[in-house]
Symmetry: C2
Subunit: 355 residues, 2 copies
């Protein structure tokens, strides 16, 4: 158990954006909103998963939508708190903790805002160990946990609750609502007990985000290679170093979808590389051959500064290094691959795990 | 106060489809569902507005969506009951009555289904005196009554509640949800007290539906002109008699939109006529000149049988007579015309009331 204050938000958001694999929201927007909330309401208590009572009532919060839009239409800040409060009312129980659904520049810090505003402790964990584009894509889904009772809130004051027959329907309905709300909405869902958190979530995600964010910053300050530090912390490997020569993107059906093309630099000179994304990076191809894909993490970092580059920041001429890192092993079962593997996203290649 | 049983549903649905002005749902589907519910659960008590206690808690129910789709994807029947139950839970009060939101072949009888299943009496009234395509288009909106707390339910078991900042947002969000639910959904909204019902609703709509439905049937049986009977009961006037020579329709954004073109028959020989609709008929043109428009009622009847012809039943060669009838006078104020007048639907002509 430790206290997190606003001075740590910058590092946490940076590291979270690495785990966000291109999505999970912009770390700068996330940092600004969380810093403001923590300055105003004081520090947030961060709990290890082991410290959590089995009967804890843990309610996650997140922002849903196209990250492209969140850059222009800033969240008001209190949507997440409103969504969490609405779940509390719905279940008629006292909420004891909150937690992240996914790792991401915005979605790792959104629960800090709700935690600060409501005086709740935050559990050091998340439901993916990374970011995924659709809300049924969490480890608890694999164990039959229902997304609903679920609530949604926008910055205007509209509030919606959903009780769905399964988590795929939760995604479908929530996505349509998000689009209508202007492509962003706060969501609160997957109410979990302390015991379920211990069994079904990825532990230590916030601490990993902070170590990644601190490690990248310190390496840069000390003129060491920040990308190498990140690669080591992720137990990943370098896939490609290059510069972006082409980027196509569109905001459709509530997602940011697109492709980025890179030309090799340095030891990759003469090679080409391709990233396909739906909010998050889904597939990486080196000279036409798939070298990494969901559910493994494909992380894009600025080659010089080591800063995570979200898909919205991909633009012509940016020099980046692409890393791959192994996902949580629970994502590698057949059932999990049906939920988040390449086939789900319409790719016909087999998933080959990153070593 | 009187009892309505399944033998009356056929006439009520027929008359309701006349007031539905092309929309409001298919009277055959509505009749089948309501007959089944009333056979199973027994008759429903119909109350005059005057008989209602001021502190009654009245919760309306309706089906929302594109009528085109409801013909193919039959409602399960209990969605409306589920939606009403969810509102009751939300407001934490005992619901004492239900009522129609709009007049229509399906939406005048949907509340009978919920009333029968829940043992609730039904108020003889509706919120429009006709059908309109969007859910903010009810007389209570003009007096500042909120659509929400609102609930939605589909035939799978998905359930949603909405609390919106205004009634236009209720329509926007509910429409997106309806589309995702497969273009039809049950909705329950506009919780009203007995006093509000008396002040804000159109009284006697069910009775008028029944008189229209019975009148048309009896005239046909007695070889009198059923169209003339309907015209008189509506205090309307005949606009055109012809046959349909062209019909364009598309299901878009959760609505059935289109245009029908008619060639004159009999005394209208040589003339052309045009109907534009969005679920309901919006504008009627005779040789290019607007002769009726929302909020007045444009009703299309089969010339021989007097049966109401919904927009889904418009097809090449059908011989119809088009009537216009005056809307409830409260729809003719400036504020009301902003909500439901031709300008709202994108037409630039001034509204000229039917005498």
């Amino acid at each position: 158990m430790r206290e997190i204050d606003e001075t740590q938000m910058s590092d946490i958001a940076r590291g979270a954006a690495v785990l966000g694999t291109g999505g999970g929201g912009d770390p700068y927007v996330g940092r600004l909103l969380a810093e403001q909330a923590l300055r105003q309401h004081g520090p947030v208590t961060l709990l290890d998963v082991d410290e959590l009572p089995d009967d804890a009532v843990v309610v996650p919060v997140a922002l849903m939508g196209a990250p492209t839009v969140m850059l222009e239409k800033m969240p008001a800040g209190d949507e997440a708190t409103n969504a969490l409060r609405a779940v509390a009312q719905l279940i008629g129980k006292r909420v004891t903790h909150t937690v992240s659904i996914e790792a991401g520049g915005l979605n790792s810090v959104t629960p800090f805002i709700a935690a600060a505003e409501l005086g709740l402790p935050l559990v050091d964990a998340d439901a993916m160990g990374r970011a995924f584009p659709e809300l049924q894509m969490v480890l608890p889904t694999l164990s039959g946990v229902h997304a609903s009772p679920m609530t949604m809130a926008d910055e205007r004051g509209n509030a919606i609750t959903l009780q769905t027959v399964d988590n795929a329907w939760a995604e479908r309905l929530a996505r349509a609502i998000t689009v209508e709300m202007g492509c962003t909405a706060a969501v609160s869902l997957y109410v979990l007990t302390g015991r379920q958190i211990k069994e079904l979530m990825v532990p230590g995600t916030i601490t990993l985000c902070e170590r990644l964010g601190t490690g990248i910053r310190e390496a840069r300050e000390q003129h060491r290679d920040p990308v190498a530090v990140a690669t080591e912390l992720l137990r990943g490997k370098k896939l490609f170093t290059g510069k972006i020569v082409d980027i196509q993107r569109k905001t459709e059906a509530g997602f940011a979808r697109g492709e980025a093309h890179l030309d090799g630099v340095g030891e990759d000179l003469g090679s080409r590389f391709e990233l396909a994304f739906q909010n998050e990076h889904l597939v990486a191809r080196h000279d036409g051959e798939v070298v990494a894909s969901v559910p493994d993490l494909i992380c894009v970092l600025d080659t010089d500064s080591g800063e995570p580059v979200t898909t919205e920041m991909l633009r012509y001429g940016v020099r980046v290094t692409v890393l791959a890192a192994p996902c949580d092993p629970r994502w590698r079962t057949d059932a999990a691959l049906e939920l988040v593997g390449p086939g789900y996203f319409g790719y016909d290649h087999e998933y080959v795990p990153i070593a």
